[in-house]
């Protein structure tokens, strides 16, 4: 029962977020602030992680197919597929659930426990719109991060396999270009957008409706991470079933 209560309240929160808009001049500033915090602030970790993960994927693939009868471009092909379809959108989103998600929960949660949200409400400001809408809008730029992750992931794979001697540069690049399907791009960016929405709203929900003090803010961030990453995994499964299977 509790579960349905939360689901209902979550969707109500989203409805409130898109009603009674804050003054545009104020909202604009908030959006730029969020882009800075959520997107630009994540470039470093996303770049670092995706490059190394791409490298590992390429090496693993190379070790798994050490068979002279398989074509040499297979490593590049497999790396591209895994990075674009899975590692960039899904794994990076899980990492972002930890980074961006807990930031959102703790910043909104702190505002809740220190009555800053009440202060907004007393002034007649729709705190849902004021706090959550700019986060959702700034995460419209999330595909930019994922594209970066794809690019660096494949680059990482290239560097690892060519320099470790698993593949030649020519073979790897040929592998990347092999059998390219536009629908895979549609699939991967669809789920990226879905994850972006989840990343903005589920942590916001946990911050918004938390109770207690500073200690509870920490707990709320934990619970928020568990939920956000679980929902991402579940949605990933559903979307893959629907679009690819």
């Amino acid at each position: 029962m509790k579960f349905f209560f939360h689901i209902g309240r979550y969707f109500l929160m989203i409805k409130y977020t898109f009603t009674k808009f804050t003054k545009w001049s104020v909202l604009k500033k908030l959006i730029f602030q969020e882009i800075d915090d959520l997107i630009l602030g994540s470039i470093g970790i996303v770049a670092f992680m995706s490059f190394l993960i791409g490298g590992v994927v390429a090496i693993q693939t190379a070790l798994a197919i050490e068979n002279p009868f398989l074509p040499g471009n297979l490593i590049g092909f497999a790396t591209r597929q895994s990075v674009i379809l899975e590692f960039a959108p899904t794994l990076i989103s899980i990492i972002m659930a930890g980074k961006v998600g807990s930031f959102i929960t703790s910043s909104i949660g702190t505002m809740r426990v220190t009555e800053q949200i009440d202060a907004l409400e007393v002034m007649g400001i729709n705190s849902f719109n004021y706090l959550i809408f700019p986060k959702i809008i700034s995460l419209l730029l999330y595909p930019f991060l994922i594209t970066l992750a794809m690019f660096l992931g494949i680059l990482g794979g290239y560097v690892a396999s060519v320099y470790a001697g698993f593949s030649t540069s020519f073979d790897f690049i040929q592998g990347i270009q092999l059998d390219f399907q536009v629908f895979h791009i549609v699939y991967t960016y669809s789920k990226t957008m879905l994850f972006a929405f989840v990343l903005a709203t589920i942590p916001a929900y946990h911050g918004f409706y938390m109770r207690g003090g500073a200690l509870e803010v920490g707990k709320a961030s934990n619970i928020s991470f568990v939920w956000t990453s679980s929902v991402i995994i579940i949605l990933n499964f559903i979307v893959t079933q629907l679009l690819l299977a």
Partner: protein, 253 residues
């Protein structure tokens, strides 16, 4: 003037506010007093519509306070200022930005007009050299002043203060109390203050409502409260040695 008729509020089936009726007068500092946990903050949040009441009604100047009537409520909200128990300043903004915030939201003033108005209220609450500091960089007493400045920047008709002097030394506490009282008279506004501090009660208790476990058990003025025979009030008033001595001295005269 704010009129409260028979309001009740429960959390998880426990009545926190129990059938409270009261009138808060214009141009006066109206106090809600009671022990910690007696429901003062909850009552104030009900008055402000931050919590939904289960029963009863709240009237602002004779008009029903209806949270869901968008047009009347947003008009009324601009006439309400609130000083929260922990000041509730926006900690991502400087002191000046905090005070300008309501203006930015609800006025069409230019930046320089807003800054001028903010400077006016900053002077009014006797703040100096803190404009560009952040809330975490100033003392508790200063934070209260900033919160008061933010609450009055739009010239409210109603001012709410939840324990405005908690956590302050006795001298600063009285200065803050007096400031609120002066502002109340100066702008002729309806001020409601939560407190459990007897000094405040004596200093600014124009009208007092006494809460015990969410029930109003007494109302009167700061002169009347010393003379009442009610046991519960006496326990509250004379819990401090100082006031016991005052009472003894009065009896001797």
């Amino acid at each position: 003037m704010i009129t409260v008729n028979n309001i009740s509020k429960s959390f998880d089936n426990i009545k926190i506010i129990n059938d409270v009726s009261a009138v808060f007068d214009k141009g006066k500092t109206n106090l809600i007093i009671g022990q910690s946990g007696s429901g003062k903050t909850v009552l104030m949040k009900c008055l402000l519509g931050l919590l939904d009441i289960d029963h009863g009604e709240i009237l602002y100047n004779g008009k029903k306070f209806d949270k869901d009537n968008i047009s009347t409520i947003s008009h009324l909200r601009k006439q309400i200022g609130m000083v929260f128990q922990g000041s509730a300043l926006f900690d991502s903004m400087s002191v000046l930005e905090n005070i300008i915030f309501p203006l930015r939201m609800f006025s069409d003033n230019t930046d320089s007009e807003m800054i001028n108005r903010a400077k006016e209220v900053i002077n009014r609450v006797d703040l100096k050299d803190v404009d560009n500091k952040f809330p975490s960089e100033i003392s508790g007493g200063m934070r209260k002043r900033v919160a008061i400045a933010r609450a009055i920047v739009l010239n409210p008709k109603y001012l709410f203060c939840d324990e405005p002097n908690s956590g302050l030394d006795p001298k600063t506490a009285i200065i803050i109390d007096k400031l609120i009282k002066e502002i109340t008279i100066e702008y002729d506004i309806t001020t409601v203050i939560n407190t459990h501090d007897m000094n405040s009660v004596m200093e600014i208790g124009d009208k007092i409502i006494f809460l015990v476990e969410g029930k109003k058990i007494w109302e009167g003025t700061n002169t009347e409260i010393l003379d009442t025979d009610d046991q519960m009030i006496n326990d509250f008033v004379y819990s401090s040695e100082l006031f016991k001595k005052v009472k003894l001295a009065q009896k001797k005269n």
